[in-house]
């Protein structure tokens, strides 16, 4: 039994991690093609990635879009969650539903809708348009995470702050935000990662300045190369760093 469970565990992790592992391994390929056999290790492809202006620009664009769109999603999600947690209005349930609804719509449909709407009102495909698209998909996520973390106990603490004379912005800034910090951080990092990795919306809503996933896609069109593996590995590294940071900073602390 014990051997079986270990075997199962190993099989599971292999299944999950093998594609990424292969990608990372062949980013060091000393040859023209990122396919077996492995011919020896070189950092040549990483050097060429870092020297590639278009790639580095795309990386910077991705970073900017992710940082800003995650911040906007977080702010709007936090305000919506604290508002809906504070008062029971007729239609509260409906409002929550409508706020969360975009999560159930495929990114492709969201992107198509935005593309048509932006066309109508004259917003050109751009990083701004992509950022707005990312807020559309990440706001429901941020709202749901933050709303779920406001329990009876948190509501009472907010009530107590108002009772002691705090104005609404003071309640939000001095009590709600610090008290909900772990879920705010989780929401922000998730929104950041989703924006950072997102392809479909960025593909449809950018034109000249593109984000990294779109740039990688156009590299792939000219055929496989260990250079794309190297970019992929770098993107993966950023995601890993964020996840590990989240784990160390927040969940470790929360467990204490």
């Amino acid at each position: 039994m014990r051997i079986l469970s270990w075997a199962y565990l190993i099989a599971l992790f292999t299944f999950i991690l093998l594609p990424v592992g292969v990608l990372v391994v062949f980013s060091f390929q000393d040859g023209r093609l990122p396919v077996p056999p492995f011919k020896g290790a070189t950092l040549e492809w990483y050097a060429s990635v870092l020297a590639d202006r278009a790639l580095m620009e795309a990386l910077l664009n991705s970073m900017i879009v992710a940082l800003i769109s995650a911040a906007v999603s977080l702010t709007l999600g936090f305000l919506a969650a604290s508002g809906l947690a504070r008062v029971v209005l007729p239609g509260s349930v409906l409002m929550r539903g409508v706020l969360i609804a975009p999560m159930t719509v495929s990114y492709l449909i969201v992107a198509l809708g935005l593309l048509q709407m932006f066309g109508k009102i004259g917003v050109r495909p751009s990083l701004l348009a992509t950022g707005i698209g990312h807020v559309v998909i990440n706001l429901p996520l941020c709202f749901a995470i933050i709303y779920a973390s406001i329990g009876e106990h948190q509501k009472n603490a907010l009530k107590a702050a108002r009772d002691l004379g705090a104005r609404e912005w003071q309640v939000l800034w001095l009590v709600a935000a610090p008290m909900l910090l772990p879920s705010l951080a989780a929401a922000y990092f998730l929104a950041f990662t989703f924006s950072w990795d997102e392809f479909i919306i960025a593909f449809l809503l950018t034109r000249f300045d593109v984000t990294l996933p779109v740039e990688i896609w156009s590299m792939l069109r000219s055929g496989l190369s260990p250079e794309t593996n190297a970019v992929g590995s770098l993107v993966f590294l950023v995601s890993i760093v964020i996840v590990v940071a989240l784990e160390l900073l927040l969940f470790r602390k929360g467990a204490k």
Binding site: N156, A157, K159, D163, L164
Partner: protein, 340 residues
Amino acid sequence: MTASVTIQAVEHRFNNFTALHRVDLSIEAGEFIVLLGPSGCGKTTLLSIIGGFFTPTKGQVLIGGADMTHVGPRDRPTTTMFQDYALFPHMSLADNVAFGLRMRGVGKAARRDKAMEMLDMVGLADKGSRKPHELSGGQRQRVALARALAVDPDVLLLDEPLGALDLKLRRQMQDELKEIQQRVGTTFVHVTHDQEEAMAIADRIVVMNQGRIEHCGTPEEVYLNPKTPFSADFMGEMNRIEIATGQAASLGGTDAQPALDGGTLCLRPESIGLQGDFSLGRARLAHASFFGSHHRCHFRPLEAPDREWIAHLPQGIALHPGDEVELFGRNPVIFPRDAA
């Protein structure tokens, strides 16, 4: 500081449910009032209306003579101590206690001094830099009290603050609450469903049931002379003795009720004994147990062996199951037929 509270014809509805039916209540400045009743009786709703968390559907709330019906919690001279303490988890105890002063624009040094003074009052002066999660339930309780009192409210509202504590700690906190209330002189309005707690701390008890005030009076009045069968039962155990119309029972006491002609005679267990103001007839002891301060005895009257009376007899009484004695009553509470 302290102020009176007047509730005038307050009615409160949640959708179709009426939580309070035309409640009138006057609370004197500096009084310790306990709102007592079973869950769902409207006591917490009434507290929330005094605190400004709900605006009543009808009626008026006056605090210190000023109409506060439509004033929010922020601008009322009231503070609330919540059932789960509602401390701010990310702030030190001193910052928690000083929060209200900070919102009132008090300078850093002044509010620090006041916070330490308040923490000192509740015996936590050495723990000002701790966080709430490092404290026990009873200590959090005290911090919540210090925080609510730090802004010198005219009225302090306490929403079942002792509910989560174990019995011994609860008794200790009751004494402390009472002592602190007498020291600061603030009007306290305290909600509980525990009648012993109510009697331990209240100047006056307001017994509530189904959105109405059943009785309002000192603990003695409410316990010994309850106005309604509900408050009689809620304040403690009662033996009910039905007396049929036409079958007059003589309660030959001194200040005496005349003969009672039909109704319910209620006697507390300690009001039944081997001596007293009037005879209840002979009864047989079914069983008894010793409670330290008294013997709790279950008697069956000879005239109606299917009934059971509970009497608390003093220590050292030597009765055995099966013994027949004549029982006497005192301090009777009588409800006419229609009230019972």
